[in-house]
Symmetry: C2
Subunit: 398 residues, 2 copies
């Protein structure tokens, strides 16, 4: 395995000003005018012509011109190898993407480790930044120029995330992401999340994407011009080795836990006016009893998407436990009826370390989010979660 | 005003590996062991001694050792001038902090502009990173070493945020933050959020902080040793010029909009086991009718904190509009009864541009979050929000 190191630079400015005055900057693609409270349209036109500038917002109070979206976003029109602001670089012989991120204070929960929602957000962010760097990004949510010409958007059909370790507040992580073919018309996107300091892999993820016509809302074949854009980026490498997908059973109204009447709020909608993926996961996890969540850590989540969820849908979250926890039963009985048929006292187990491994035996849940209809229910997403018992005290701490 | 530029470097690695093998890194402050599934405590002890390493987590499946929090967080014990991972630098003659951030895909709402919650999150993040860089950060949520010795935590008493422009997805922003004295025992923290490309200021914020004894939950004077830590960082500069604070009226049960039965969820709790500040703001804004939120943009929010909110509290969000929107009344009546007493037809207003300025006239709301008690209610936070009508079409777009 060959590996090279190199240095990236990002530029920033340092001001020694402490007198409360603001710095005044000028760049070619934007203009700021101070001083006068009135102006004529012709003056603005002139500015536009002279600077190649398109103005969209005029604030009469501050006389500040905010340049058009395309200048503010500055989406690359050709492939970039480094992005100093996103702390991203192209890897994997020119087709993969790596971004360095610091786990932020608001991305962690009460136990100071990153929430699963934060990890999902970072996966989305790095995926979009990968497309951003590729020079393929149109004006949509990850759609290429060719997709936009064909009125196509991306739709995720399946996603799986495995978390071995949760990063803590302030920890520096590296996220790698890359894409590959999935059948004839789909795309696979994978991720690896690792500690920047040690290289230890904390999480792995994979997802499958297909294309949908934005008007008809029907799935579409991948047009040749889109395949020509995407296929040079495809590699075979897989973050999670899954020979065959285990199907997720469909739950019905007999599920043990049911949360009804869930309504998306404005703040739950993404750029596509859809309920954000992270909200789905929150709805799923909130159906699990709090006592369980307090003592367990999510180790794996699989999502199978069936249908879009819009802002006016009312959602029901169903959830059914799949494995009884041996450890809880054991504490009550003071002996274990092990999977292999032997019955062992907890004292013996504790002595030889078996207790710890039983303690961490994953429990799993099956989930379903659906729209409750008068005649029939419509599935939004099926899910499966696996859990590990939280380790409270570290066995070898000094 | 003097201003200098300099270059920062951040290090990252580039791998040319496409064969699915993971790189294997070693650093002094962490160890990764592959291969064997069993190990003895003495082996681990040896590792600890030889490398100065403290191990806390052992995963028997992967045989991966995750070093202790202090190594993973790597909090500086003395002042740092640059942080390449956080893209932060010390400014303002050595006492202020500036961080470059890119607005991420999941931080924006359906209109592609950053949500107010995202802006509040970034303010919290940069404040904590400022303390992080200072070398003063203990093991708490922004508390200094001296505060920790005195069992003190920070409590925010007031916060005000003014947003002139909302950044869009992918926009590069600079956030400056600094601190100053507030009375004898308090601290003021201010922020400026500006476009990295143009220097245009998008938002300003100020906040006031006092210290609380973690055990007694009573407010505390600032001990001399803490003053000695903090005061070298104090400057006079203010982001928002407020001569005197306008007090926020207390709402009662007669408020026009009331949302009851709001329960914090596990995902709403921060590192201090408290309901996160951003959740307060969401509860406040969700009490405002959707039709209003769709057409208006928050231009200012002020929060006065009264009491902590814990995970078991059930909260009520009250909200009362403070200004009737002239434009809505005008459309119905086809004339305006202006504030100065003149009645003007909408045609005349439209002709001379007055309509636009009335259109954008801010509306404001008063808010209250409280815990509903049997005998009396307990205030958590009072709030005030000001709003601008959203500008749909740009008047001078080409």
């Amino acid at each position: 395995m060959a590996s090279v190191s190199f240095r990236l630079a990002f530029y920033t400015r340092c001001s020694t000003n402490t007198k409360g005055k603001e710095k005044n900057k000028k760049k070619l693609n934007c203009v700021k005018i101070n001083g006068t409270k009135s102006f004529s349209p012709s003056k603005v036109d002139l500015l536009s012509q002279n600077s190649g500038l398109a103005l969209t917002s005029v604030d009469s109070e501050a006389n500040v011109y905010i340049p058009k979206e395309q200048f503010r976003q500055n989406i690359p029109t050709k492939k970039q190898l480094v992005d100093p602001f996103r702390q991203g670089i192209i890897i994997e012989e020119g087709v993969g993407y790596r971004q360095t991120v610091v786990i932020r204070s608001y991305e962690v929960g009460p136990d100071k480790t990153a929430k699963i929602e934060s990890i999902l957000n970072l996966l989305q962010e790095t995926a979009l930044n990968h497309v951003w760097m590729s020079g393929l990004l149109g004006d949509g949510f990850g759609a290429t120029h060719g997709m936009m010409r064909n009125n196509l958007i991306w739709v995720v059909s399946r996603m799986q995330v495995q978390v071995d370790h949760y990063p803590i507040w302030g920890e520096v992580m590296e996220i790698d992401t890359w894409v590959g073919a999935s059948g004839k018309n789909g795309m696979r996107r994978d991720w690896l999340l690792r500690s920047q300091a040690t290289g230890v892999i904390f999480a792995r993820a994979t997802s499958t994407w297909v294309m949908m016509n934005q008007q008809t809302r029907r799935l579409s074949k991948m047009p040749d011009e889109v395949r020509a854009e995407l296929s040079p980026w495809f590699i075979e490498k897989q973050a999670i080795n899954e020979e065959s997908h285990e199907k997720i059973d469909k739950l019905d109204d007999k599920a043990l836990y049911v949360n009804s009447g869930l309504k998306p709020k404005r703040s739950d909608l993404d750029m596509n006016q859809h309920v954000n993926n992270v909200k789905y996961v929150r709805w799923m996890l909130e159906a699990i009893p709090d006592e369980f969540l307090e003592n367990h850590q999510l180790s794996s989540i699989t999502l199978e998407y069936r249908r879009e969820c819009g802002s006016s849908d009312v959602v029901q979250s169903l959830c059914e436990p799949q494995h009884v926890e041996l450890i809880n039963a054991g504490i009550q009985q003071n002996n274990y009826n092990c999977l292999n048929g032997y019955s062992v006292s907890s004292g013996i187990l504790e002595g030889n370390g078996l207790l710890r491994s039983l303690n961490q035996r994953p429990s799993s849940y099956t989930h379903l989010l659906q729209i409750k209809g008068d005649s029939k229910n419509e599935e939004i997403v099926r899910g499966k979660t696996a859990w590990k018992k939280k380790v409270i005290a570290a066995p070898f701490a000094p």
